[in-house]
């Protein structure tokens, strides 16, 4: 059967979102970023919000997020994305404004900007990719690196006396008055991807409707940084990351009526 008779609008059960660009893929096989980018593109498309959404990309592997999702973007200095998003949203209050940040960007160099934007209740959504390692620079220790986990700057494993402890910034965020929605998700299975997409949609809705700050952490894999195959990385994440970074909603003040 010819291909063009198979692919008809009636037959389509799944397709790439129109907002996801055909760009050269710079993420490694097995990396979570690609899945999360796709979810963001799907959510913006489903909300019909292309002309109302501004993204702020970080420094780290996702520095090129703007090449993938076909919307307006600003590329921030390392850690400063929540400051940019604060101003954009305050000056254009009817827009959806989100940041997309890794663990080094959000939970280390940008801790002050993250905490204070969330604590002020800025009406922004923060998408936080936590893979417990610095991917872009080649696998160094992150603020979220697990105890005992080996990286290029803690090659014998993270030790409390040498390196301190992994930071649960999402738990901190849940204690702040300004946050309305704080959740931790993952994208390692179909079910998890569906839950993560609902979380991103919720966070974007919260930004649009000015309900306060939303933080969506995605516990993620970095197969290159972890020196594993994609399959091994997913398994390692389930076995080790989820024990420390419990998946699920940490805070949700939005009632069903508001939604």
């Amino acid at each position: 059967m010819a291909e063009n008779t198979l692919i008809t609008p009636d037959n389509i059960v799944y397709q790439k979102p129109a907002l996801l660009n055909d760009t050269h893929m710079h993420y490694c096989p097995g990396c979570s970023h690609g899945v999360v980018h796709k979810l963001i593109a799907e959510v913006i498309e489903e909300m019909g919000a292309t002309d109302k959404t501004v993204g702020v990309s970080p420094v780290g592997c996702a520095v090129f997020a703007y090449n993938y999702v076909d919307i307006d973007w600003q590329e921030a200095a390392h850690g400063r994305a929540p400051a940019l998003a604060t101003a954009i949203k305050r000056l254009w209050p009817d827009r959806i404004v989100f940041t997309y940040q890794g663990d080094g960007d959000l939970a280390c160099i940008g801790t002050a900007e993250t905490i204070h934007a969330l604590n002020r209740g800025e009406n922004i959504a923060i998408i936080f990719i936590n893979n417990a390692i610095y991917g872009m620079t080649g696998g160094q220790m992150a603020p979220t690196t697990l105890m005992g986990m080996k990286t290029s700057t803690c090659p014998y494993g993270r030790q409390a006396d040498l390196h301190g402890f992994p930071l649960k910034i999402t738990e901190i965020a849940a204690t702040l008055e300004g946050t309305c929605y704080v959740t931790r998700q993952s994208v390692h299975s179909v079910a998890a991807i569906r839950r993560a997409k609902r979380a991103i949609r919720q966070a974007f809705d919260n930004s649009l409707n000015r309900r306060g700050s939303s933080l969506v952490e995605i516990v993620s894999t970095c197969s290159s940084g972890w020196k594993m195959t994609p399959q091994q990385a997913n398994e390692w994440m389930e076995q080790h990351m989820f024990d420390f970074y419990h998946v699920g909603d940490l805070k949700n003040t939005i009632t069903n009526a508001q939604q």
């Binding site: 501004v54 076909d70 307006d72 200095a77 940019l84 101003a87 305050r90 254009w92 900007e113």
Partner: protein, 362 residues
Amino acid sequence: MAQSDILLMKGNEAIAHAAIRCGCDGYFGYPITPQSEILETLASEKPWETTGMVVLQAESEVASINMLYGGGGAGKRVMTSSSSPGIALMQEGITYLAGAEIPALIVNVQRGGPGLGTIQPSQGDYFQATRGGGNGDYQVIVLAPASVQEMADFVDKAFTLAFRYRIPVMILADGIIGQMMEKVVLPPFKPRRTEEEIRRDCPWATIGRTPDRKPNILTSLELRPEAMEQHNLHLQAKYRDIEACEVLYEEEQTADARYLIVAFGSAARIAQKAIDIMRGQDIAVGLLRPVTLWPFPTERVRQLSTQMKGILSFEINAGQMVQDIRLAVEGRTRVAHYGKMGGIVPTPDEVITAMHTEFTEL
């Protein structure tokens, strides 16, 4: 002009009132002496209830400057203010603004340094402002007010330049201009720009991609060296345009002068008095006051140097602008510097003494 239009206020207060009146969309800042009256005045004026201007006390100067990136990148007239150590913290953000070509206004009410230094006035940030403390080849336009009136007038001028060239503009004041009270006439009210005006004037702004255009992406990153070189060449061409078109300076009594004092900001006010006294003693001395420190009035200094037996660069620092003067003069005449540091403000008599010390024939 009605008498009631003339007000008495501090330079810092004048900046705040001028910002509200000239259609500023947002102020983002962090308290630091000697400029905290800017944020305090804005907070007490509550412009969010009148013009709709956003006023936000940020968690740091680092956050403030990055809020300018966000807001300016979204086509809005945004500003911050700080003093020397705070401006040092902003240098990362300023080079990002320059690289991504984001318009914004940064006010530096200078204090003495280095480090935490002193809260007393200084002009020690001339290098920081004109050379840039951030990384890479970039410039910001630097305006040096010498009166409370200029503090008020330069706000709108700075925004106009910032958007004309898509460049950060700095008002480089100091603790004297910020804190002293003078008569001032505030600029007339002008409305903030509408969304339609921003879409028309700032087609690059990130305010949501409409179906008729490609996405707007504001970034200073480019990994391909050929493309990064082109971007740098574009920036340099823009800087040459600014040097050709936007130099501002004022002169007093230079026509018959054989000696020249070059001074900016509050130092120019002290120099004015010194020159008046010396003129009474039949010394043919004049004043050149650079209003833009970058672009520097290089050509005018060069022209004037041919008639001068000596030039004194009077700055409240260890000698920074004097380098630009020497580069312009190219050895045609003697160039000396006089200044004080640590928050000490020289008197006119000390400037006169310096002239006699440097140019002993006087």
